[in-house]
Symmetry: C2
Subunit: 345 residues, 2 copies
């Protein structure tokens, strides 16, 4: 134990060596569990380590060995439920593997800004995880220089990608499909869609799951409405849809959008689920407690984060090969906000 309270330079490997009467290399061997160290010597070194309160300097380790045991997460936002949960999952898995987690926020989706952030992340050393649900993230994933270990957390790819592609996803295509089918099964003629930013591209997974369900049911395919990420965007989109009397079912790209839509319907005086059914996406903690409580599709974001780290971890160290594409199964959670369409139509 370090009894002298002075804030002095922490003990280095050589300090330990002197204290134990061995060379610094022997100390290094003990630290790294090298087999050929005499037990008595190991004992002495460990005692010295304990006495001096030695901790291996992560910076020096990274510099000398090249391995940095660090991950940087690139994300457009830290406050939205899905993103924050993925981050939390990554951190959890990283902590278990004693990796450090860094974070970089993509404040702008503009190319130069994104490139700068990617550079900064690369400078930090170690691996990279990019949350690529939105334009900024997608762009960042594309801007990663070759050779830098990276895992992307992405929407369901349109076609099954080549094995070993460094991507992880929840099956949000399937989730959108399920939610849409649920609403159609209740008797709605069609389902309108309020999209999260990236999902307006024709290739978006959520959009295409929704579209497929409509097509299979022979339902007309309305234009997706562009939302933002938050409730405000949902509110704006909701007001637009609420004015159209033919709208009886709305699927939202996430639960925050759904919240805004619910509010808009309330303001316009269209009861949910009496006149209009609403379904969300993600099953955020508040979904169950809204009035009406929100029908939604649960996605395991934390697990997704853990999987992303696991994949990266496998790339960084040639350890146990991780399952190629860990996919969590989405789960439809039916609550109060969805029901049959009004009878009089």
């Amino acid at each position: 134990m370090n009894v002298t309270g002075h804030t002095r330079r922490p003990a280095s490997i050589r300090d330990v060596a002197t204290a134990a009467g061995v060379s610094y290399q022997t100390v290094s061997r003990v630290i790294n569990g090298h087999p050929s160290v005499r037990p008595s010597t190991r004992e002495r070194v460990l005692a010295a380590i304990d006495e001096l309160g030695f901790r291996r300097n992560a910076t020096a380790l990274a510099l000398a060995s090249g391995r940095s045991r660090a991950v940087t997460v690139l994300t457009a936002n830290t406050t939205h439920y899905g993103y924050a949960s993925i981050l939390q999952g990554i951190e959890e898995a990283a902590r278990a593997a004693s990796y450090a987690v860094g974070i970089g926020v993509l404040e702008s989706a503009e190319d130069a800004a994104v490139a700068a952030e990617v550079q900064r992340a690369a400078d930090a050393g170690g691996g990279l995880i990019v949350i690529a649900y939105d334009p900024a993230g997608v762009r960042a994933l594309g801007a990663v220089p070759a050779g830098l270990p990276v895992v992307g957390v992405v929407e369901t790819p349109a076609s099954p990608p080549a094995g070993g592609s460094p991507w992880v996803w929840a099956d949000d295509r399937e989730a959108a499909y399920q939610a849409t089918r649920h609403l159609l099964a209740l008797g709605h003629e069609t389902v309108h869609y309020v999209a999260i930013p990236s999902s307006t591209r024709r290739t978006s997974a959520r959009t295409s799951g929704w579209r497929q369900a409509l097509k299979e049911a022979g339902a007309p395919e309305p234009r997706p409405v562009q939302g933002s990420w938050g409730p405000a965007g949902g509110h704006a989109a909701g007001l637009k849809l609420a004015r159209d009397p033919s709208v009886s079912a709305i699927l939202c790209g996430n639960d925050d959008l759904a919240l805004g839509v619910l509010r808009a319907l309330h303001e316009v005086g269209r009861p949910v689920p009496g006149e209009v059914s609403v379904a969300g996406f993600d099953d955020a903690p508040h979904a169950a407690f809204l009035t009406p409580s929100l029908t939604t599709v649960r996605l395991d974001f934390t697990g997704l984060g853990r999987a992303a780290f696991g994949l990266l971890h496998g790339v960084l160290e040639e350890s146990a090969p991780v399952a190629p594409h860990p996919v969590s199964v989405p789960e439809l959670v039916v609550r109060e906000s969805s029901g049959p369409p009004p009878a009089d139509r």
Copy 2:
């Protein structure tokens, strides 16, 4: 520009030196803007840097200079709005100052686990920001070894701390005071309080602001109800309070708790604000879109995060001294969930 696509070892300062025909030290001088370098030399070095795509290795910089330009944020959670916003604010300010941001989650409040996390954070080098709104955070702040630069994001201290104390806070005591006064001014006999975890201690800032407002008004002081952080905790607490017919006003420790309380009141059939008024705390994005929309007190968490970083930045570099205790002024936002008590009592 690096045209050869080979993923080879990035250029070092000595590679640049050779390319420019100078010594590595001169390159170092150019990088660091040292004045005594002949313009023509500087020119040549800069050209070489550009050509080789040289970027200064952050790890080596940290090892050699001791300064690491990094901050680690210790927090109990990344998904709650307040925490996530503080983190976002920190990241924003850190990015502007080209600091790297690391994150450590305090999964358990148990002493050993907290100590381990603090150690890990210390190993990362650089400064530390601890979000200390909850037991885990408070404990972590206490466990930081002396000599390690640290800033705590805390609740309003009970008494004005000594100048230069490394803390930052939003005035949540004042915020709770304001919200409580607002409810009392509407005519409620008293205001019940659903507390976030840390706030059950008598010293908690939010609790004491609430208590002071009650005392000044001569209102009876009910026992605070213990909530958790999320809506589920608010729901449980709300059910308890809803059964008590004397309850007509409820202040919640955050907006998620308030959401749960609203739901509980709805389930029990007590209209808001007709029979019961509810106020939240934080003004999270969803507060405005709930039905009824939520009266709450806005706190500038992002600004708080920025201030925390600013303070730490000032400690790490002897640069511009930062304002001692940046306090953001809370702002009461009155919405639909609060109104006068029912007339018949």
